[in-house]
Symmetry: C2
Subunit: 477 residues, 2 copies
Amino acid sequence: MLLRRSVIALVLALGVMCDTVDNKVEDCDLSDALKKEIASYAPVVQKIINTAVNGTFKGITYNELALFVDKFGNRISGSQNLENAIDYMINKSVAYGLDNVHGEEVKVPHWVRGSESATLVEPRNKSMYILGLGNSVGTPPEGILAEVLVVKSFNDLKEKAASAKGKIIVYNQDFVSYGTTVPYRSKGATEAAKVGGVASLIRSITPFSLNTPHTGMQTYGENVTQIPTACITIEDAHLLQRLQDEGYTIKILLQMGAQILPDVTSRNTVVELTGTEQPEKVVIVSGHLDSWDVGEGAMDDGGGVFISWGALALLKSLGLKAKRTIRGIFWTAEEFGYVGAYGYAKDHANETDNFLFVMESDIGTFNPVGLEYAAGAAGGCIINEIMQLLAPINATQTRQSPSVGSDIEIWTSDGIPGASLDTQNDKYFWYHHTPADTLEAENPSALDKNSALWASVAYVIADLSVDFPRDSTKLKN
Amino acid sequence: MLLRRSVIALVLALGVMCDTVDNKVEDCDLSDALKKEIASYAPVVQKIINTAVNGTFKGITYNELALFVDKFGNRISGSQNLENAIDYMINKSVAYGLDNVHGEEVKVPHWVRGSESATLVEPRNKSMYILGLGNSVGTPPEGILAEVLVVKSFNDLKEKAASAKGKIIVYNQDFVSYGTTVPYRSKGATEAAKVGGVASLIRSITPFSLNTPHTGMQTYGENVTQIPTACITIEDAHLLQRLQDEGYTIKILLQMGAQILPDVTSRNTVVELTGTEQPEKVVIVSGHLDSWDVGEGAMDDGGGVFISWGALALLKSLGLKAKRTIRGIFWTAEEFGYVGAYGYAKDHANETDNFLFVMESDIGTFNPVGLEYAAGAAGGCIINEIMQLLAPINATQTRQSPSVGSDIEIWTSDGIPGASLDTQNDKYFWYHHTPADTLEAENPSALDKNSALWASVAYVIADLSVDFPRDSTKLKN
């Protein structure tokens, strides 16, 4: 109730009169005073940008990310390597003089891949590149040797259900978009098991491949046999499709040593720049520290972690402290279902009213274009004004969504305003969850700009004379 | 001498008066009669194009290539699979009614990869993607565990020679162009051995990678220790460079089961459309049937073989027989140093005077743009006129080089006129010699156009009233 009243009061104060959630700048009716106040941050934002792009902070985000991924490589949930990486981030943040640096414990899954292979044994012998999926069970040690049924969709599988029993089901679905296509990865094993499949192999969820397999999470439905499941490459999915169409009988030997071990204790990593006037009120910048167990997790989500860390380190280096607290959180076990974020949300349920704005970068830290945000009409108008300050790095674009983020969607889907970093990420899914997710996907100049953007937005929101408004249409009773 | 006289006579007959080798269309002074004659082929070229692009031959090149790579996969020199693939092409060509279909024997190398792996063991554990290089020796079964020295160039290696002894030399050379950069692959082991290196790992020769290793040929110099050598990915080369720059001691365990077995007998595959008037005079279209032992060799050089085969099958299907013979040759063991082509050149030395024009496609069968050719002034002018006939598929570009082709360079470097297919191949080296060289790199429509271009050029040259002229500046005495 406190929250709700304060937001209504703010909306009135701002004079926001937007009719629709899908507001545009021209529909905004912010008070002149607030517009002027936001515009008054131009010099400080310019200073932040200059320092990151051409000044003393230039290259630091990339260099620190490089040192980090070079030292640890990938960091899967449940691994000691992830915990070592968390310790490193804590020590690094203390060394940079950030406030209130600590870990917050949470139980996380511990799935291990083990050795794995898939071999086409009929109509000819061919070793396939695969990546088992998170949460998959393994095969017996001798593997599963079975005939293959290739399907193009879940509907196609239903139509061919009568011939699926005892077979390895191969999904050769077209890539439409990640959101549209990823259910084949996340539920493919369950649907295959329902019709008697003994394993499922899913075409990797990507628009482009150099024979590149992609891993990712999958979840077994209730009351179905848990069958081993992995992703194959686009190339092999097409090959298997053609072999089936050409009338060949196809057999594959699948061996997977995957195991689900008992949960272990991990930590969300928390660092702050404590607010000078209302330290209990918080703007969050975040990314997730865990990764898949292939590549280096430099893009997913090393970049997101290091621009969040970089935003605080940059502000610290400039001696900039906002009225409210800016909190960096490096989530753990995102890849296994936002496990760290859910734990944090539960532990901090009493603090949620003070979460003014939550930010996450988890869809790439390529050259920035702006923000995707979830906020009400008033909040959208404020974001649009703030983003004008990013004109020096051409990152002024905004687009509104009902909710944003991966970890932070827990909050943004629930009416807490937030934003996700928007970059030129058209190749994001080329690298996503693959051995190619290395530092090669990152760029020093883009990271500098992203740290500057992240720092600027967080600082202005945390420093404004008014609290960032809640979305009045989504307020809980 | 016969050749020389006939060419001089032709040059005079054509009235060619070009001053420089680097002729352009506007510099040409072909006789009106010859220009008219070439232009008169427009209807037949249009018919060839229509048949391939929209008619009864549409899709056949791609579909036949698909059936072929689906059945055989890759086809390395020395393998039974390559011989089976040759038998298949012979049977296929007989079934399509081509003339004089046969194999011509030649001894070829038989290098086998065996199992191979490279593991970074210090400063942290990481499995690396590698591909051993053709002709490399293997390691002892237990592998070679050694410290790493990363160098950026051969010069850098010389400067660091004092610290190279006993180390695994890693070349992290920049990619400039294939021709400029490939010596690191072909001679890297030799240069490393000279300074006491125990193995060499070379950054793959490519401008782009999704953690993609590339294989290829290498040759040991004389009187140096033969050390095992493989390519690593761009990503790992950069990682090792950074680790070295960061001051880490780096150790790698390299295991390679590579072996050089005794040479075996393979075959160049020859198919023809016998000429109706001067069958002894020959226009050659070609590609190589062997491939590396990764991927499917669909691009390198399945595409080149199948547009050469397709050109003849297309002309056959249209009942088009030229005055001279059009010969398709599918070379064997190109990847091990043009072994099939050298054998063919030796066996057919007496026939060379009758090779009027030699064509090869071995740098991709993407969307065609025209031809790269090696010919004298008169020949260049004729090619330019002929290529105008390809306007319906926008493939009229020509560019002249001193010599062209891979296999056919034996002839084109020696004054026999020839051409290499020119396509939009800017991504060729993304796939080249990798597991990603699959049918995915090929496109039905592009292959239709390439078969049409190949058939048109071969047909017109083989059917003209005059022999295609030799380069008078390169004629042998």
